[in-house]
């Protein structure tokens, strides 16, 4: 597929599926009216210049893509950066988009060890969208993380399409603190036996900000594992949503999947929406999901203040502990260090 072809294919696909609407199950909780339709679908000038010719992963099927956010960077002719990490290599990398639209292809070799931090493009525009295609070969261990600063970016999409081979591990960890609207979408394909995907995401939101996660985990081989763990601390009028689907194919014996969303509402006007979807086509699996929503724990609060700690300080301690606890189970790594540092 040449670069112009993929751009026009993506544009055609967007025209076919149309702008996101609330009745589209991929966008159920997203404030779709906030998407600036004019700038999002104005492709005339964007497609006039060709992108760098790149090798597109075989798993990258534009014609079957249903998520507008996954198509947008391609349709906008985003510069594609390809990074190949050889078998057995260890690498720490930073990725930072220089424009509103970015596309990164990562090919990670067998048994490679990769730590990848994604940095924000701080230039303020109406809309930003990035797409990451990540192919993880056998036995590779990959961590992908970001901790966005509380910036003013109005609207940001980040889409990840991850394909994992046997015995590979991907740990995806993030903190969202933005003042705008963000959406992270992940399609993870566990295609080899023993593959493991683990996601930990934290939203710390206030004002009118909102953060939305849409995940689909495809268990396509036996003995694969997926762990989804999201925590929200919502103040003001903030809103978060979590739409997580797990699909277990037939014959995928010994699949393990868990999904847990914990939310603390710090104000009357904050809100959260959670939608777990489990499609299980095999009997010998263990799949769980859970969702809790409440205020700060009254007993913990009483304990702290009964030791003389002023209520405001006690509240901050509990909020920080709720947030940090999410990342404690991570192995010692750049991701763990960075994310816990952000929460200090």
């Amino acid at each position: 597929m040449d670069s112009m072809n993929k751009v026009s294919l993506a544009q055609s696909r967007i025209q076919a599926i149309g702008m996101p609407r609330r009745n589209n199950e991929l966008w159920t909780f997203f404030p779709v009216a906030k998407i600036p339709a004019a700038s999002a679908t104005n492709f005339a000038t964007d497609s006039a210049t060709a992108s760098d010719a790149v090798s597109i992963p075989s798993t990258f099927e534009i014609s079957a893509e249903k998520d507008f956010a996954a198509l947008l960077p391609i349709a906008k002719n985003a510069h594609t950066m390809v990074r190949n990490i050889a078998d057995g290599e260890s690498e720490m990398a930073l990725i930072k988009a220089n424009n509103d639209f970015g596309h990164t292809v990562l090919n990670i070799g067998k048994n490679a060890r990769v730590s990848l931090e994604i940095l924000d493009n701080k230039v303020i525009h109406e809309l930003a969208a990035e797409r990451f295609d990540v192919c993880v070969d056998e036995g590779a261990d990959v961590e992908i993380f970001f901790a966005n600063p509380a910036n003013e970016l109005p609207l940001r999409f980040r889409h990840f399409r991850i394909v994992q081979a046997a015995n590979s591990t991907v740990r995806f960890s993030s903190i969202e603190r933005g003042n705008g609207i963000s959406r992270v979408s992940i399609d993870d394909f566990l295609r080899g036996s023993g593959a493991r995907f683990e996601m930990r995401t934290l939203n710390i939101l206030n004002g009118d900000s909102s953060s939305h996660h849409r995940l689909t985990i495809y268990h396509e081989a036996p003995e694969t594992t997926s762990v989804q763990f999201a925590r929200n601390l919502l103040d003001g009028h903030a809103n978060a949503s979590y739409d997580g689907s797990v699909i277990v194919n037939p014959d995928c014996t010994k699949t393990y999947s868990s999904q847990l969303v914990n939310t603390i509402l710090l104000s009357e006007d904050s809100s959260v929406s959670v939608k777990p979807v489990l499609k299980i086509y095999h009997d010998d699996v263990e799949c769980t999901h859970g969702n809790t929503c409440g205020e700060l724990d009254a007993d913990q609060m009483f304990y702290l203040v009964s030791r003389g700690i002023p209520p405001e300080s006690a509240k901050k301690m509990l909020i920080r502990s709720f947030a940090k606890e999410l990342f404690y189970p991570l192995p010692d790594s750049p991701a763990k260090k960075r994310l816990l540092q952000v929460l200090e």
Partner: protein, 248 residues
């Protein structure tokens, strides 16, 4: 020191738990409160500290002449009141030592003292942990996180030792302790105790009072103190139970 007069308190549904408690605690005294389950012993400590689950219907609680009931919870603690509950709360993610330091500095700040330095706090912490025969595991863990029942009780006494309160209200501190741990915790309490301080112990058993000699023993039943006496009262209760006591 601590003066409780006609204290009445109820829970949210209006059920009155404390029905007129009177208790005078002077410096240097150890008071043991005994009584059947459900008599209001645990409620008493929580009400004095201001637990939001309870409503004070009447009466007064003063510490050195100051009305505790008009104070915020943290203010009550910083004024010199300490309570240890029967089931200490776990707070995962809040480091035990950082919590202790913050609590101590909150008190120092309230009393107008500068914050304690890192070295001084480390030394204080080590000294008190040694007293209670606690190892370094307590430093790095979250507050009471994953502790056994006995470890939690020991951690409570560590907090008491560091915060150095005027009056400590210890609710069933002996529950969950093996024989050695009971001795260590009791020795710790005796070490912390001084002629300027007072301790109120809630217990079901004489065994704690073998280590910590009470000045007075009270029987709390149906939300009231129905009998007070000396240490011999605890021995009699151990032998005969509560049924022989006539309520006024």
């Amino acid at each position: 020191m601590l003066s409780i007069k006609d204290l009445k308190a109820s829970i949210e549904d209006g059920t009155q738990i404390l029905k007129g408690i009177n208790l005078e605690v002077k410096p240097g005294e150890v008071h043991a409160i005994m009584g059947p389950n459900g008599s209001g012993k645990s409620t008493l400590s929580k009400v004095i500290m201001g637990h939001p689950a309870y409503h004070v219907d009447g009466g007064s609680v003063e510490l050195d002449g100051k009305n505790l009931l008009e104070m915020e919870i943290s203010e009550r603690a910083n004024s010199g009141l300490f309570i240890s509950t029967q089931y200490p709360t776990e707070i995962p993610g809040v480091n035990n030592v950082e919590f202790l330091k913050m609590a101590l500095n909150s008190k120092r700040n309230y009393l107008g003292f500068p914050e304690i330095g890192d070295d001084e706090f480390k030394k204080l912490c080590e000294e008190k942990m040694e007293l209670l025969e606690m190892d370094d595991r307590y430093r790095d863990r979250g507050v009471n996180e994953g502790y056994s029942g006995g470890e939690k009780k020991r951690n409570e006494i560590l907090q008491m030792a560091i915060l150095d309160p005027k009056v400590s209200f210890l609710d069933e501190t002996d529950s969950g302790l093996d024989i050695d741990a009971l001795r260590i915790v009791a020795n710790g309490i005796n070490h912390i105790m001084s002629p300027e301080k007072a301790v109120i112990l809630v217990t079901h058993y004489q065994r704690l009072l073998d280590y910590i000699k009470p000045t007075y023993v009270h029987v709390l039943r149906h939300g009231k103190i129905i009998l007070s006496g000396g240490p011999e009262l605890a021995l009699k209760l151990e032998e005969q139970g509560y049924d022989w006591i006539e309520e006024k």
